[in-house]
Symmetry: C2
Subunit: 250 residues, 2 copies
């Protein structure tokens, strides 16, 4: 953990930051300036984990890495394809193990086989919109505090098993005014977003602020252009996410 | 046609070219330096046409533009997603109408509804590997000269109907030594590649030299890394094609 702390500390100093306040966590530009970029090493294994936004219709019978139909058509496929092209000489292995509808407890249940056993060097997790959403549409009981505690437990257990893994935690996001998402999501949903940011901060993970990335994109086109239903991405939205994700790497 | 000729002529002069020899047609670097880039205009309609490499498993029940499952998972999806993200303010419309197994005569049969009626401003065509391949595995009779004549007829009829369309003709490609492709493809297959280049040249289309792009990529990894079977792309290969395609635009 010391190396991880030093890594973040140096990054913070390099950008002239003096405190880890919420301005940092919710910086409005992309994260490329927020931390030293993650360097791809020869033979690296990269794992995309999450819910339907990561799943994106992948063929779950195909568990092989680096194969198009095992990736669906979301940001994980777009980012993964570009990684395999850009780093063709490094023989990297990329898995997508997102599953539609998942909340953090679902990840915990399948974490050994769907994460630890794959031994990722880089782990990207996007989870949380269902942890909130099911409290609205299915009467599930799950507070932002519980979500934070569960997510932190998941990451801590991951760091115990894979102490050198480089972590990317994506911010759950929603676009208000598109189909499933309306004012009733606020101010509750942002508490889950803040929880994800806090976990990333407390465990020295890279935080990818998708909400501000989508908010910024709304200057160029409508919410329905970037998401199909306020939650799931259009082609443009998936590309926006992949572009932001790739900016974390060098 | 005069504007089209002037466009190419200026581009050639700008790069110091004095003749349209085969060195130009088969330049070893990407096409970004070969011609002035195509500029996306507000409201442009872009159409990807071709065979299975373009089709890439798209849902043919969904004929809508700009929708992920109507695009499959090949270079057209990767390029299309990035276009919709990068040019989000321009409200562009993108269609994929590639169909697996197609040869030029198949395109001719469906060209009115699958091209002309869509009124593309930018038309990208990748066709030819089956025009050759079926002469090998199905006893079809089709010479490079016939392929060239059919393709030229297709493009000329397109230019009659859509005189301002900007054309991109992709070079059919194959990676020798991977599954379907072996020495028996040579020297016959390159004659079809040359025919595609000649049609592009004679009709002032932008020519995208995929063969030299894949040949160059073999310096970084194997043929089986870039294609699944010598003909169809892997994730890395689809990204390589999309990257090259996107470099034609600004």
């Amino acid at each position: 953990m010391d190396n991880r702390r030093n890594f973040l500390k140096k990054s913070m100093l390099a950008m002239g930051a003096t405190s880890l306040g919420s301005d940092w966590l919710y910086a409005k530009d992309t994260t490329s300036s927020l931390a030293k970029k993650i360097q791809i090493q020869p033979g690296d294994t990269i794992l995309f984990q999450g819910d339907s936004i990561t799943d994106a219709g992948r063929n779950k019978e195909n568990l092989e890495p680096n194969q198009a139909n095992a990736f669906g058509n979301g940001y994980a496929y777009l980012a993964g394809s570009q990684l395999l092209n850009r780093f063709a000489g490094k023989n990297i292995t990329i898995f997508n193990r997102g599953i539609s509808g998942n909340r953090v407890p679902d990840l915990i249940d399948r974490w050994q086989q769907d994460c630890i056993d794959l031994k990722p060097n880089i782990l990207s997790i996007l989870i949380g919109v269902n942890d909130f959403w099911r409290t609205k549409d299915s009467g599930a009981s799950n507070t932002p505090e519980q979500y934070k505690s569960q997510l932190k437990q998941l990451i801590e257990s991951t760091l115990t098993a894979l102490p050198d893994v480089k972590l990317i935690i994506g911010e759950p996001f929603a676009v208000n005014g598109v189909k499933h998402v309306d004012d009733s999501w606020y101010p509750e949903f942002p508490k889950y977003q803040e929880a994800a940011a806090e976990v990333a901060h407390e465990l020295n993970a890279v935080f990818l602020p998708y909400q501000s990335i989508f908010d910024k994109a709304l200057k160029n086109n409508t919410g329905a252009y970037w998401t199909t239903d306020g939650v799931h991405t259009s082609m443009a939205g998936a590309s926006l996410m992949a572009e932001s994700w790739l900016q974390l790497l060098r």
